[in-house]
């Protein structure tokens, strides 16, 4: 079965540089989530999109922005990178349920992008 694709898998940047992370959700999934997982920590929610509109926002720095495109892929743009931004960034996707209860709320995670800021 198709899974969530994230690119690049590894990224090394210098302080104050810019990074762009990409996420391609599972086909027919209309919701994308971004999470940040620091070393030894649990994933923290950053932002989500449903049908190309921002649906929820967590503890995402103002230096970060994201969007979901017409083909449902999403990009997380990170500017003025800081050492503390070094982390594993996950994208997850899900399919919003229809009128009744379904089992499609489950979020499926991509392999993550490991960002290292030097």
């Amino acid at each position: 079965a198709a899974g969530v694709i994230q690119s690049p898998r590894h990224l090394i940047k210098e302080k104050r540089e810019t990074a762009t992370l990409k996420c391609y959700p599972i086909p027919r999934h209309d919701t994308v989530y971004w999470y940040q997982q620091g070393p030894g920590q649990d994933p923290q929610f950053l932002i989500s999109f449903y049908e190309k509109m921002q649906s929820d926002k967590g503890s995402i720095p103002d230096r970060f922005s994201a969007q979901q495109f017409s083909d449902y892929h999403s990009e997380l743009n990170m500017s003025s990178l800081e050492l503390g931004d070094s982390a594993l960034y996950f994208c997850a996707s899900s399919q919003a349920p229809g009128g009744g209860r379904t089992s499609t709320d489950t979020q499926y995670f991509g392999p993550g992008t490991r960002l290292t800021v030097l």
Partner: protein, 116 residues
């Protein structure tokens, strides 16, 4: 705000034995989802099992089952016949079901070691 607590930073089990990982959560909502995710050394987040709060029946997936106690806000994971491949970090997660696109709130994680 919803919180998820995993009080066991580390657990260990012998191969073929059974182990239970604990999770408690705090919410004022009645409609929500609970999940267990496994994160092996590859750091991939793998769904293990999910439970809808409106269902009284405990979810099971092969060797994995949960004990969902809604009133106590407890959601434990039981792994039967443990295998070496079960060794990983396990995260309990809460998702609000009130919207179609609820973020997940994770617990701190439990590192499971499986001894041969």
């Amino acid at each position: 705000a919803q919180t998820v607590t995993q009080s066991q930073p580390e657990m260990s089990v012998q191969e073929a034995e059974t182990v239970t990982l604990s999770c408690t959560y705090d919410t004022s909502e009645s409609d929500y989802y609970l999940f267990w995710y496994k994160q092996p050394p590859s750091r991939q987040m793998i769904l293990v099992i999910r439970q809808e709060a409106y269902k009284q029946q405990n979810a099971t997936e092969n060797r994995f089952s949960v004990n969902f106690q809604k009133a106590a806000k407890s959601f434990s994971l039981k792994i039967s016949d443990s295998q070496l491949g079960d060794a990983a970090m396990y995260f309990c997660a809460y998702g609000f079901g009130g919207t179609s696109y609820g973020k997940l709130t994770f617990g701190q994680g439990t590192i499971l070691t499986v001894h041969p």
